[in-house]
Symmetry: C2
Subunit: 204 residues, 2 copies
């Protein structure tokens, strides 16, 4: 029974799951939805795939798993990408929750607004939020850079799911207008993650 | 070596960890910070406790674990609160990530603004965000109510960490002005969670 990824290919949240699957060698069947046309808000999608109206969703037979970081955790579970040590496993989850609260709502949202929606098409409220999201995205990059000044990867001295999750939107942050030049440790870490033999690009 | 919870007692995010600890019988030493006075943004807090300037943080000796849901996962890990089944474990994480993305930024933030900051003291931007956060909070409650119409608890047919995490801010949603009357399944579930012999209130 193939695993099905319900996704929008340009979304970093969807890429997280494909990149994790590449690391563990899991094939995925992919179904595309155009989020700009509201294809994840149809009655059929809401009742059959995700009541929350969002992608990605990982389908395992009759079971559906929303939330990118939970789906990626499922794919990685049992592999070296999830540390066996109890504290390291929780520390990995700390970075995944931090990503969804402090990184994605800023860096991914600014990228989405600037590249897919277009600044001219933003609502007044989105326009008012933009400077705060840019500042919070820069603060997230600075926090990552400081951490990566002390270790080569986020949780262990090798790649784990935390690096894959944080790579997804960090490596396209410049598409949203974030300059990575002030963050040399982040840039070196991006290169380390991309040099892994199992790595695939977001366009794969 | 005692576990130390760096916290602000009224915060639902901090209560999550105390409630999880009560369920597994783990004693916690507690240190209070007044977030309204910026006590989690001091140079000492940023360098020694959490570079992200937020509570709760769970301290285990020299190790610090930020992010409420990651700290609660650490406390629950190895107990019945985390399902042994791989899919159920990922489904639990899906609810924890959903809580941090769709529930907490709306229901907890509106409660914080209305009860601790005060509507009169909100910035213009916060005031502009308020109606959207109220609507998103109501949508989160409606999604929970629909799910709880199909099962007594969120992931298994008994309490897990997902129920503890979602209980924390849902049970005080009315303090933020959210009316729970339209959500009978949520109200019945709140009573089931609170009836557990291991339960403690947020004021404990």
């Amino acid at each position: 029974m193939p695993f099905v990824l319900h996704e929008y290919a340009l979304s970093g949240n969807c890429y997280k799951i494909r990149l994790t699957a590449a690391h563990v060698g899991l094939p995925l069947e992919r179904r595309q939805y155009d989020i700009l046309k509201g294809e994840t808000r149809t009655a059929e999608f809401l009742s059959e795939v995700n009541a929350n109206g969002r992608i990605p969703v990982l389908q395992l037979g009759d079971d559906f798993l929303p939330e990118s970081n939970a789906a990626a955790f499922y794919v990685a579970d049992g592999s070296d990408l999830i540390p066996a040590d109890r504290f390291a496993r929780a520390d990995l989850l700390h970075w995944l929750f931090w990503e969804q609260y402090n990184h994605e709502p800023n860096i991914a949202t600014v990228r989405f607004w600037r590249t897919l929606v277009g600044e001219a098409n933003l609502t007044d409220l989105q326009r008012a939020l933009l400077p705060g999201k840019v500042a919070a995205g820069e603060a997230a990059l600075a926090l990552m850079d400081a951490h990566l000044g002390r270790s080569d990867f986020f949780v262990l001295d090798r790649i784990t799911l935390a690096d894959i999750i944080l790579y997804a939107y960090t490596h396209v942050a410049e598409e949203g207008g974030f300059d990575l030049q002030p963050y040399p440790n982040v840039r070196a870490w991006l290169s380390r993650v991309a040099a892994d033999p199992a790595h695939i690009p977001i366009t794969a």
